[in-house]
């Protein structure tokens, strides 16, 4: 079943000068399967955040259609069912936390949905446990670390019990530990809860953890496939202003010395093994 289905999407916004309109997409098709972990890559200004905002009807198509679990995002009647099915997490955790107590913030969405009080308690506790922040439920969010705040933001979305979560550069402002915490949380939600994950990122190593990588460049899907496939075309990635994970870049450089290392080794362990064999270690 497809979670998100975008057909012939066109979108443009009004530019700075009078009457000027800036095209972001002209004719974009993309389908995301329920339960998958999809990374969307693209340089700044490629349109990936604009695309993501179509997934829960924050933006509406200027042309073409966007369906979420079979629901047309242009149908105003379906706004709430659409938004509770597709949760959204943004880059800056500070700007998406509403309340000054962690549990009150996580409760925000269920409160909006009119869930009965005892059920809210249940959902809040559950969501906080899933992101490993239950212990912090009575803390003030502004005193937590970036990684913790971002996990609170994720819990706030989980509390809606969505089937899909879209994360727009959730780790851009975090330190390595915060990044690891968020990535582990996201991967766990995907594996254990079967939640569809759409991750927009600038970090190639994060994209490498996904089931599928979609590369968007100037509003057009330029590559789409398993991470191994997408990243192995390293010259193409460079051409699009992107890169490959360092292990792939390493193999690529070594191949110039005459080795024939595969370009789909995303884990350092695999890369080390392949290099070991190539260097005649065994």
């Amino acid at each position: 079943m497809s979670a998100i289905k975008v057909e012939k999407l066109a979108y443009s916004y009004v530019g700075l000068e009078q009457g000027q309109s800036v095209k972001v997409f002209e004719d974009l098709d993309l389908e995301i399967e329920q339960g998958t972990f999809v990374a969307i890559l693209g340089s700044n200004g490629s349109g990936k955040s604009t695309l993501a905002k179509h997934f829960n009807a924050i933006l509406l198509p200027g042309g073409g259609k966007c369906h979420v679990y079979g629901m047309d995002t242009a149908d105003e009647e379906l706004l709430i069912p659409i938004r509770r099915s597709v949760g959204m997490v943004f880059q800056n955790p500070d700007n998406q936390i509403v309340a000054n107590v962690v549990e009150e913030d996580v409760a925000f969405a269920p409160e909006n949905l009119g869930v009965a009080s005892p059920m809210i308690r249940h959902r809040v506790d559950n969501a906080l446990k899933q992101v490993g922040m239950y212990h912090y439920r009575t803390h003030a969010p502004h005193l937590l670390s970036g990684g913790q705040k971002q996990r609170i933001a994720i819990a706030g979305v989980i509390a809606m019990e969505p089937r899909c979560i879209v994360l727009d550069e959730p780790t851009a402002m975090l330190d390595p530990k915060g990044r690891r915490e968020v990535m582990e949380t996201v991967a766990r939600l995907n594996k254990e809860k079967g939640i569809t994950v759409v991750l927009i990122t600038h970090h190639m190593d994060e994209a490498a953890k996904a089931d599928r990588v979609v590369v968007i460049h100037k509003g057009v899907v330029r590559a789409d496939g398993r991470p191994k496939e997408v990243f192995s075309d390293i010259d193409y990635m460079h051409e699009l202003g992107l890169a490959a994970p360092e292990t792939v870049e390493l193999c690529h450089e070594l191949n110039k010395l005459g080795y024939a290392l595969p370009l789909d080794l995303l884990e350092s362990e695999d890369c080390a093994q392949a290099l070991y064999n190539a260097l005649g270690g065994n």
Binding site: L16, G42, S43, N44, G45, Q91, S145, G146, G147, E169, A172, M173, L174, D175, P176, K177, G178, R179, H202, M204, D205, G241, L242, A243, P245, E246, T247, E249, L250, E253, L254, K256, L257, S268, E269, C271, A272, L275, Y276, L279, G280, G281
Partner: protein
Amino acid sequence: MAPILEVRNLTHVYSAGTPFEHRAVDDMSFSVQRGEFIGIIGHTGSGKSTLMQHLNGLLKPTSGQVLLDGVDIHSDKKFTRQARFRVGLVFQYPEYQLFEETVYKDIAFGPKNMGLKAEEIDRRVREAAKLVGLTDAQLEVSPFDLSGGQKRRVAIAGVIAMEPEVLILDEPTAGLDPASRAGILENIETYRKTKNATIMMVSHSMNDVARLTERLLVLSGSKLAMDGTPAQVFTRADELLDMGLDIPDVTRVFLRLKQLGLPLEPVYTIEQAVAAVKKLKEGK
């Protein structure tokens, strides 16, 4: 040669005497030579920003000293003010500090505050703008009409135009795509070379600091935990991971190869890795 910056037993305590008392920097000592490119790594709250703000005199140490060219930054008021200009500080997400009507005026803010002559200001603004890759036409537009990456360049140019001897940057590439990241890092390196300036860069990207810097300061829990070359620091992989940090993937691969029995020294950039493999091959 005498160090350009010297930090002696620097300690800084916030909200001393209240229940919110927090020791952000605890007894740090190190010195910085002219022309060095130093990377600063550490988890959030390890004391990086507090340390940075001592190096140009924005914060006063609770105890200890910061010496600029051998003179205590807080020895007299005039010198403290000079230190602001001699040690340039680019904060995290500096584009959020832009405020002028045009890019030109914003870049000129620092040089103007230095009390320079009009021609000198003009020269510096144009030079700094050119260095970060802004066109003459862009100088006349409002900074708020530029893209995120371009705004970042304007903000960095605003500090570079003060032509500081030491340029300190807090995560200058955060939130940018790989191409913009590479561009900004190249600009920083160019500035260092043309002015023989000292660079100190805070970064969460281990790959970036590994590629660019000659020396790393590792901060953890308000203390200076390590001070050495990237090679020395990144071989202590386990400790770094415990501190919530990371090592470059290349280093990880090579540490594993060494474990498997290949006679390879630890590397931390792809160039070094290629060189090491070459050497191994030729040695056989």
